[in-house]
């Protein structure tokens, strides 16, 4: 069974964060922590504010109250120029991939490198390496419109990981995909977790995919995911559940599955 290690240095901290739009409170008094090397899965029904929470974590939105700390720096009152520096260490995978449709896959994945004026040859090399991770090297010169939804999602992951970020934010990475393609995406998230040990916050409403992530590990030798022996759980993967703007659960997979809370039991059934 899983063994919880001592909490390491936090990478992301939400402290009593609230935000509302047009008179409606979306998130209320949210407090959570993502420690180094941890993968936190935030579950919640569609429309519960999960994307808003991720955008707050990246400074794309500012909270109405509370503090958000990323890599020990408070970001809620930072200016946009200062946030650009911080975002070099954060990779974000958006819900619908958000690829730039007028650019090729190569220019999409290498976008940050091109902005940093990295030489063209090096950009191509690093893009090819990132695409190799998601097994899409052959799409280098294609446009996003020529790719399937699953392929676009994989390119979005390549774009997020190319600078080897210290924190990855995944916004419903398997949303809108069929089960087989979803498994491919979850496998990539798992590969990033197990091979590179990157801290991440993954929000999803797909329980199946979340539990796959918690109960499997990436086998480098076989180059695909395998179940953890003896019905084990990944020790670095923990859960948060969002309901009605509040965090109603924060803990391990084991505690979530064995919870007596009526809402959680109904939500997981």
């Amino acid at each position: 069974m899983e063994v919880r290690e001592d909490p390491a240095q936090p990478v992301l901290v939400f402290d009593d964060v609230s935000i509302g739009f047009e008179g409606k409170q979306v998130l209320r008094n949210i407090s959570l922590t993502v420690s180094t090397g941890e993968t936190r899965i935030l579950l919640g029904p569609a429309g519960s504010g999960k994307s808003v929470l991720l955008k707050l974590a990246n400074g794309l939105m500012r909270p109405d109250s509370g503090r958000i700390t990323v890599f020990d720096e408070e970001i809620n009152s930072m200016r946009e120029e200062q946030l650009f520096e911080l975002r070099q260490r954060i990779g974000m995978v958006f819900q619908e991939s958000a690829l730039f449709d007028s650019l090729t896959v190569r220019d999409n994945v290498g976008y940050r490198l091109m902005e940093q004026k990295v030489p063209e040859g090096e950009v191509t090399d690093r893009v090819t390496e990132a695409l190799r991770f998601v097994e899409l090297e052959q799409t280098l010169n294609k446009f996003p419109s020529q790719l399937s939804g699953g392929m676009r999602r994989r390119v979005a992951i390549a774009r997020a990981i190319i600078t080897k970020p210290d924190l990855i934010l995944y916004d419903s990475p398997t949303g809108g995909l069929d089960p087989i393609t979803s498994t491919t995406i979850i496998e990539l998230v798992m590969k990033q977790r197990d091979v590179y040990r990157t801290s991440s916050l993954l929000v999803t409403h797909r329980l199946q995919d979340a539990f796959t992530l918690a109960t499997h590990t990436f086998d480098r030798a076989q180059n695909h995911m395998v179940p953890i022996p003896n019905d084990g759980l990944d020790s670095k993967t923990t859960f948060l559940v969002l309901h009605d703007g509040h965090i109603v659960f924060d803990g391990s997979t084991h505690d979530l599955v064995h919870s007596d809370d009526p809402f959680l039991k109904e939500y997981l059934s």
Binding site: F84, E85, R87, Y111, E115
Partner: protein
């Protein structure tokens, strides 16, 4: 309640004007800060400027022609057909060249900007750009603003030229007037204030087209419907503003220069 909704509407308008002013101010100041996206500016200048040349040529030519045609009967009453060239030239350079060219470019490019930026907004591409460390105002808005102002200046000159030519074609071949007299009076009548008025207007109108188009694009919400709404509003608002500001500029210029 009716009073609340008026208050709400007033607040929304004031907020929009504030957001517009902030966007515009930052877009202008960005040219003084690195990084500068010169390549994007060239691409936009090509798309906005060179791409609009055909419609500007056609609009200018037919406007000049129609001016000559319509003025012929009125001028003939006073035996003053000799000043057709003067009339076409002054009207095109001071008024119709800048305004009609700007309205054409507004219809083509304010809508293009609003729809392109609006589509990027609703598909989270703008958020992705920010997440990847690029300022969308520097990358998208500033190049469009400076490209539109720069190219509209030259498009207006083109329109004025072609408009005067169009008037000449109609005057000579349809109204049987003397060509050299047409061009002579067209040139002789112009004074420095006329030219200044005719060239200040496209700079201001270009500014309006780009800032309004980009503003509606960057504030798009609500999926494809939202993009449609933004596109329509961008064209309508920029067109109305062009015509209203035209009056203000004309009055100001006439007040300063006397003509």
């Amino acid at each position: 309640m009716p009073i609340d909704s008026i208050e709400g509407l007033a607040k929304r308008i004031v907020l929009s004007v504030q957001d517009y002013a902030i966007l515009t101010g930052r877009a202008i100041l960005n040219i003084f800060q690195r990084p500068r996206y010169f390549a994007d500016l060239i691409v936009q200048a090509d798309s906005i400027g060179i791409g609009s040349v055909p419609i500007v040529l056609l609009t200018g030519f037919f406007t000049g022609g129609v001016l000559a045609l319509q003025s012929a009967s009125s001028l003939a009453q006073f035996g003053a057909t000799a000043i057709t060239g003067e009339l076409v030239s002054l009207s095109m350079i001071k008024e119709l060249g800048p305004v009609l060219t700007s309205l054409m470019v507004s219809g083509r490019n304010a809508s293009g900007m609003a729809s392109e930026l609006g589509s990027m907004m609703v598909t989270e591409q703008i958020d992705a750009m920010r997440a990847l460390g690029t300022d969308p105002l520097k990358k998208l808005v500033t190049p469009r603003l400076f490209a539109t102002v720069f190219m509209l200046f030259f498009l207006t000159i083109l329109s004025d030229t072609v408009g005067t030519l169009g008037g000449a074609v109609i005057s000579v071949f349809m109204l049987g007037q003397d060509g050299s007299q047409y061009f002579h009076t067209a040139y002789q009548t112009l004074r420095f204030p006329d030219i200044i008025q005719g060239l200040v207007k496209p700079v201001v109108f270009g500014f309006i087209i780009a800032t309004v188009g980009c503003f509606y694009g960057m504030t798009t919400r609500g999926g494809t419907q939202g993009v449609g709404r933004s596109t329509t509003q961008a064209v309508v608002v920029s067109s109305v503003l062009i015509i209203a500001v035209d009056l203000v500029i004309s009055q100001f210029m006439i007040g300063v220069f006397g003509r």
